[in-house]
């Protein structure tokens, strides 16, 4: 019966072969693998392989399950269109009035329940952009910039 120790010996020989050829990376990889096997030197290879295979299968299954759960969760919460429309409406209604825009922006910032996708959609609709925002702060920053841009444009026209 071949044990892990015997397998390790073969891996050691391969490692030496790689080292002799100057291939350090695969030699180091084989060393890493050998080190992982060393604590189980006395275990028969067939027993070790079946145990590790079961463990790997379990881990793959758990990962797939978590991935499905995550995507289901994301799909179950679409952006709230009514909330988006309300905020875009109040931001637009403020026009170029700094105080009312400040109030509208503060109420948007204060609503912590809004998700990134909702704040991003508000920013896209208000600032008329197609940017894919990576954070709420970036989306809010673009809303402020759009307001300043609009106010400057209207000042120029006067």
């Amino acid at each position: 019966m071949v044990r892990i120790a015997d397998l390790n010996l073969i891996l050691d020989h391969l490692q030496q072969l790689y080292l002799a050829a100057g291939a350090k990376t695969p030699a180091n990889d084989l060393k890493t693998l050998g080190d992982a096997l060393r604590p189980h030197a006395n275990v028969p290879v067939s027993q070790f392989v079946s145990a590790v295979r079961d463990g790997l299968a379990k881990q793959t299954a758990t990962r797939a399950k978590n991935r499905t759960k995550g995507s289901a969760l994301r799909k179950s919460e679409p952006p709230d269109a009514a909330v988006i429309a309300t905020h875009v409406g109040s931001l637009r209604a403020s026009g170029t009035d700094n105080i009312s825009f400040g109030n509208a922006l503060e109420s948007l910032k204060a609503q912590k329940s809004l998700t990134l996708s909702e704040v991003a959609e508000i920013a896209r609709q208000y600032a008329d952009t197609v940017t894919k925002y990576k954070s709420k702060a970036a989306a809010l920053g673009d809303i402020s910039k759009a307001f300043v841009r609009q106010a400057r444009f209207e000042n120029k026209l006067r």
């Binding site: 397998l7 073969i10 391969l14 693998l33 006395n42 070790f48 145990a51 295979r53 463990g55 790997l56």
Partner: protein
């Protein structure tokens, strides 16, 4: 190095052992190679880490009696 590449190397080693009449070692290498089948794109280092973690929890450690037997062998009392 990817696990798929190591699998090819170990396959070649198994073939060599089989040709030199060491069927047991060839069989063991084949069995060990089969571990890489579904993880060919992982790096060997990543797979080694996974194996370490799994083996620590799944593989039954040698019993005290088997260890005593091995120690006996070391001191010449079989």
């Amino acid at each position: 190095m990817k696990a798929g590449q190591l699998r090819d190397v170990l396959d070649a080693a198994a073939r060599m052992h089989r040709e030199t009449g060491n069927a047991d070692a060839a069989q063991a290498l084949d069995e060990f190679c089969s571990l890489f089948d579904d993880h060919k794109t992982k790096t060997v280092a990543a797979l080694a880490t996974l194996i370490t973690k799994i083996a620590a929890s799944e593989v039954v450690p040698p019993t005290t009696s088997s260890m005593m037997g091995r120690m006996g062998n070391l001191f010449g009392k079989s």
